[in-house]
């Protein structure tokens, strides 16, 4: 009898406490000014699930990275031009803001001049990056941090209305994640504007990728915990004028992206590229290749397969190809390279097809590690393409937060 009463009492206490913690979700206001580093970091530590941390207007001068490890917290500012987290004087940490908890919403502020990455979220499921600016204000430099917005190893990732400028690797980079949407965002003056790497089930749509080295990349690399990237749709984007010389530090895989690339797919399977506007990309509008480096990984698949290209609008492209063998190829083909280029590995079995009314070049290579010099190029006529990949959706609770 006593046992029964005790456990019922305990259950009631538990119930009362959980109800009261939701009811007491609070707003914590943090103003810019002296001691911003410690005040803001303490608020991020002391926040409880359900809380809103509201950053005031002005510039927050920060000397170390910030971090958030509490579930279900919103960090909001007064707008990406009004609330600025300024890391120009950063003395430590690999990023400006690191999120390692779930169901977080970051919105309406800017992060500038971080020494490493801008905002990183690792294992942070259901994260939303909304109406943010991440910028290196000195223009494109290899001393800029690598990634602007960097979700990794996460499920249900939404990047919406973000603006990223000056990243020395990728402006918006999603790595080793599953169920992803990058939409309504702008990537300018980055090496790669937007990159989906080693990830599954991603929609990249309605974005602007201009004045990068390469606009949008879909890559898959070996020797990583998650690989075999697949089911990626790149559609309704404006991918034009990607004319910034590659300023990635040498040795990084993105340092091999030719200047003037629209969309580049490397390895991966099941990628659909449709309804995009391409123009003024000096190398090519669409490049589809396998992984070219030597590798040691029994599980890895270097060949690119099942790529469907459909209903894109192609402006000027291929007039100054920036990849090894490009100039010779252009000369051989009458002055410029076609706007869609594929390495041709596995031929028909690779299922790479385009229905766009522009020349589609296959290099006729037989293995992914061959060079352009070994190409046996030929033009493939446009064919019928049926798009089959499903629409990516976020859990309704996430969309409701930003509606």
């Amino acid at each position: 009898m006593a046992n029964f009463t005790f456990s019922r009492g305990a259950a009631l206490i538990f119930c009362a406490i959980s109800i009261s913690s939701i009811a007491h979700a609070k707003t914590i206001d943090i103003a810019a000014g002296d001691g911003a580093q410690e005040r803001l970091q303490e608020a991020l530590i002391l926040a409880e699930p359900g809380d809103d941390i509201v950053l005031g207007k002005g510039s927050f001068v920060l000397t170390d990275g910030l971090s958030l490890d509490v579930d279900n917290v919103t960090v909001r500012g007064a707008g990406p031009e009004a609330t600025i987290l300024d890391f120009t004087d950063q003395k430590g940490s690999g990023e400006g803001l690191l999120v390692t908890s779930d169901n977080v919403l970051l919105r309406d502020f800017a992060i500038i001049n971080t020494k490493g990455d801008g905002i990183k979220s690792k294992g942070a499921d259901q994260i939303i990056y909304y109406n943010l600016r991440v910028e290196w204000t000195g223009g494109p430099k290899s001393s800029n941090g690598a990634y602007g917005i960097y979700p990794v190893e996460s499920k249900n990732v939404l990047v919406d209305k973000a603006r990223v400028i000056g990243a020395s690797d990728a402006g918006i980079y999603v790595g080793q994640s599953d169920n992803i949407i990058v939409r309504n965002s702008t990537a300018l003056h980055n090496v790669a504007g937007i990159e989906i790497e080693n990830s599954f089930n991603a929609d990249v749509h309605s974005n602007i990728a201009m004045h990068n080295t390469g606009g949008i990349l879909v890559f898959d690399l070996p020797n990583l915990p998650q690989q075999g990237g697949h089911n990626v749709r790149v559609f309704s984007n404006r991918v034009t004028d990607n004319d910034v010389p590659n300023f990635a530090p040498a040795g990084n895989i993105v340092a091999s992206v030719p200047m003037g690339t629209g969309v580049m797919v490397m390895a991966n399977r099941d990628v659909e590229i449709f309804g995009n506007v391409f123009d003024n990309n000096a190398s090519a509008n669409v490049i589809i290749v396998g992984y070219q480096q030597p590798y040691d990984d029994a599980q890895y698949q270097p060949v690119v397969r099942n790529v469907r290209i459909n209903a894109n609008s192609h402006g000027k492209a291929g007039y100054a190809p920036d990849f090894p063998g490009g100039a010779q190829l252009a000369a051989a083909l009458g002055g410029q390279v076609p706007p869609i280029i594929w390495d041709g590995v596995e031929g028909d079995a690779a299922n790479v097809a385009s229905s766009d009314a522009v020349p589609f070049l296959t290099l006729g290579l037989t293995t992914s590690d061959q060079s352009v010099a070994q190409a046996q190029p030929s033009i493939i006529a446009p064919g019928k393409v049926t798009l089959t990949l499903p629409v990516i959706t976020m859990p309704e609770a996430m969309e409701a937060k930003i509606r």
Partner: protein, 361 residues
Amino acid sequence: MMQAIIRSIMVGALVAIAIPALAGADGNASNHAIQQVNDKAIRDGGYVRTLSEYGLFADMRNLMPAQNVVPYTLNTALFSDHAVKKRLVYVPKGGAVDVSDINAVIKLPIGSVLVKTFGYPDENGAFRPIETRLLLHRSDGWAALPYIWDEDGSDARLALGGKRMMVNATLPDGARQQISYAVPNKNQCKGCHALDNVVTPIGPKLRNLDDGDAAPDGGQLARLQRAAILPDKLPQHAVMPAMGADAPLADRARAYLDINCAHCHNRKGPASNSGLFLSYQEQDQIALGIGKRPVAAGRGSGGRDFAIAPGHSDKSIMIYRMGSTEPGIAMPELGRNVNDAEGLALIRAWIDAMAKHERAD
């Protein structure tokens, strides 16, 4: 009737939460000498404001540990800007430590504390503490809390947000140097102390506690057994060498990487996404970095192609990052502001000694 029950239970719960908070706030605890460790503060004291409240030191000013709070050392320790680190462990009465997994930290029971005080000798050679970091094993898991010492050395205060400060450091050769020293904030503790995103200790593994049995008192393991920290029976285990020990180069290098890097660079750690795994027991050569290309290093690659280029330390990303103090390049990312010259020399020697196709065992 139900409402009355709920209301009285809620009031009861609120009172139960309030009492310890009041006891902490009035500072009574620090006015008399603490004879006993304060088990309640350790187990569920929440954000205890001052270090003295835990009762871990019989005398705060000279850092004399209280009864049952036991000093220990590690064979190879994390480099922290040449700071001297004094380590203590407390296991509550009757608590049993599980040592069965030789590759993991010894499993200390709930109510245990790991205490690490950082500081430097002053110009007279006397040790001056800067901060004490606590790892408290509470009922809902480990909690990491940083405490910064007052100037007068009488007590240390909780600093959830950490602090960056200029400190007069004394280097091992006696030279004095001003360095920008960062006390970590509570999240940064977890930035290294995490496996599968759960706070966990790092250092006290059997292989890093075992300093042999040559010493007159039988060695550290025997000492910890006599102090009722370690159990009587210990499993067979490897022994990690100390940095300056007379042990094979590869062994010393792997021990260094284990304690300085592998807390993040392991399959379940904060750098799990990198594919670079540096635990003492790691066998996969690419995961160890040999011929491994950078994934997300950015400018941290230094223009180099591989984490480890065997025979060529100057072409290895690992050496580039260990030799930098710039955020965005430096590795480790947290916990140091100057380079570890001795560690750098050790890893250089190890890489340069590798033949082109040698395994890094």
